[in-house]
Structures are given as C-alpha cells and as structure tokens.
Amino acid sequence: MSRRIEVEVAGARNTFSLLEEWAPRVTAILWDALPLEDQVLRHGKLSGDACFLVVEHPSFTQLPERNELAVTSIYKGYMVANLHPERGSMELLISYGLGEYRWPDGRRYVTPVAEIEGDGSALYAALLRTWNEGQTKITLRRSA
Amino acid sequence: MAKKIELSLDGVTATAVLHEQEAPKTAQKVWDALPIDETLRHVRWSGSAGYILAPALRDPSFPLENRVSYYIPLTLNLKPEHGEVAISYGPAQARDGTGNGWATHFATLEGDATAFLEAVARAQHEGKKQLVIKRKES
C-alpha cells in the first residue's frame, strides 16, 4: 500500500497517496523531506488550472536528473514535480482542473508524484482562489 | 568494394550495404561486432520500425555520424547510447518519451527487401522475433 501525505491549503485538507509505483526515487526523497510547512503557493501562469510551490531541501540534490515517468499533462487531483537536483530544489504543482506543464517555449516534462484521495472540492476551491486572490500557504506532511 | 551484411528474420534474409564513407566509425564498429544475434521487437515511440538492443554496440560516448532524425524505409540506424539498431519499414522517427532524437544511419537494405520488411512489420502484431546479422562474405 502506498504511503500517504496530507496537503493543506487555506484550511482545506486532503490526503494524497504517493505514486511510488511510477516514481519510486522521487517519492522516497519527497517523503524523507516532509514536513514542508507554510510554503508559498502561487497560481501558475502558463500551465492552466494548477498552483505551484518551489521547495528546497538538502536531500533534493539526490533527485534523479531524468523523470522516472515523464508527463506533460497534469491531471486534476494529481501532484507533479519538476526536478532540479543541480539546485537542490523541486517545483511541485497540483492541478484543480485542466493543466499542462508549460514554459514560454512550449510543453515540458514533469514526474507525477501523488494522487488525491476522496473529495477534493474544498482543496480545488482553495487552489482556484489563488487565481484572483494571490499567493497562499501550503503544508505537506506525512499522513498519520 | 563496400562491405555488406546479411540479416535474417523469421526465415527471410536480406542484404544491406554499410555506409563506410558517410559513417566510417559506426560502420567499423558494427562490422567488428558481428555476428549479432538479438531479439527484435517493434518500436513503441518511433513508428514503423523494429529494433534490437545490441550490448556490443552500446557506447554513450560514441559519436553520431550521418545524423538522421527520420528513419527512411530500408535504412538501419544506430542510437549508440542504447546500442539500439532500428530498421524502418515505413514512416518512422527516432523518438522517445520526451520527444524527437537522433541516430546514425549506417546501412541500407539493397535489392528487393519487401519480404524482410514485412517480417519486421509483423513484429508489432505477432510479437518478438530473432534477428541475426552477420558479415556477408563477398
């Protein structure tokens, strides 16, 4: 059974299961770095219905250079990661609708790392609010 | 006289000429590695082609020569970083999960290779087959 993490945004809380079958190394490194508390969460500019946070951790220098499962589409309710081992950082995105990871020069590839469990309505609403209201805070922690 | 190789697949044989002028290092590397006896499977990203993985041809630092991205039908193309030889029977391109890539076009089938290419194509629906490549003695 996959390990679970808890994601909290502006009081909305959901459990996500880590996609260990798809990205064993990245999910293991992410798990070891938790908790990541009160991180800045912003709405994306180019990737559609998705918010992002950039997290740094010493262990992120061990992230693989290549995506373990490369995708451009960010499915609703999924968390994906853009890996920067050279900087010891990871950009995480969560989609609340239709999302695709893009830069000004086009689509780029990321690794799916977690999938929401249960009803994500409140979390999706909190993510959507950043579009009009600006950045908020997000906490990722291991689920009890 | 150009060196030639013989390929056998599913009971069918074809001859290919090595492009020693256009891809001298690769042609020599392939010649030195023969005979090769490996499993041929249909590609999953690159279109109308079959491929083998030949450990003797795998060298991530080996340079590309006679670079191609599209695989023209009848051609043999090497991706040295994987030791992958792709044989195209239709529209095909050196692709992987994250996009388009490059390979060395090092040989081309000659004569009527229709039956051989049909055998390559059949790998998609029939499954893997055994490909043997050896030097064709003149």
């Binding site: 079958e21 798809w22 995708v71 | 249909h42 999953r44 391109q93 998609q124 629906h125």
Partner: protein, 138 residues
C-alpha cells in the same frame, strides 16, 4: 459513485471507473458501446500503451475532446474524438501520431494502480496482439 467497467485481457481482469465528471459525453458514449470484445495491439507511436477499436455508433457522435490531455497516465483508457480508436497505457505514454503529439479524452481509469492487468498489457511488447473484453461491472 462513478460507474464501473471490467477490463479483461488474457484471463486477467481489473475494474475501472468511468471518468464521468471529466468527460461526461465520452464516458456515456463509451458506456453505451459496451460490451466491447476486440483485438488489442501494441501502440507504435504512443509509448507504453495498447490500442483497440471500440466500434459501435455512440462514440462517433462525440466529435470533440473533453478535458483533453496528451499524456496517458498508466491505467487510463483514452479515446480520440469520434472514437475510432482507444488506448490504455501500462507505463509512460503520450498520445502521438507520425506528425507529433495530439490530445485525447480520458474515458476510464483502473481502480488499482498496481493491477496485474498492467503487466499483461506490458507483455504485448513481446507477445503482440491479444484480445480485450470490456463489460459493465455488476
């Protein structure tokens, strides 16, 4: 609760949930097309995926993608507009043609990410075509 279907290949079954929320028209048309029993073949442009032709008339009426995606996550079933083909991914997969990447509609996804069915689908790379049977789950 999402409607469920049963997908069977080579004697191995798995339950999938329809993407009724994401793709209501396509999911309904797919539901109406069931049961489906047809050839499942390995993809040659889209990576670690297999394709089949759902048939029937219902999917022909859905001529536009709903919530379009290019990436096909493992365990997801997708169809192209008008339903001429459907794919199910067992690993890294992106909907592609000879001319490049295209978009598709998610129809259903396996409930169990670690399903044994994915291993059966992966075997098509070595074994070629199989038969797929999709029915409404009780």
């Amino acid at each position: 609760m999402a409607r469920r279907i049963q997908v069977e290949v080579d004697g191995v079954s798995a339950i999938a949930e329809l993407c009724d929320d994401l793709s209501p028209k396509t999911a309904e048309a797919f539901w109406q097309t069931l049961p489906i029993e047809t050839t499942l073949a390995p993809a040659k442009w889209s990576g670690s995926a297999c394709y089949f032709r759902p048939g029937g008339e219902h999917l022909k009426t859905v001529t536009a993608n709903e919530a379009p995606v290019a990436s096909i996550y493992p365990g997801y079933i997708v169809t192209r507009p008008s339903g001429s083909e459907a794919l199910i991914a067992y690993g890294a997969s992106e909907y592609r043609w000879a001319v490049g990447t295209d978009y598709t509609t998610r129809v259903a996804h396996l409930v169990d990410r670690g399903s044994e069915l994915l291993k059966v689908l992966a075997r098509t790379h070595d074994e070629g075509d199989k038969r797929i049977k999709i029915t409404r789950a009780q």
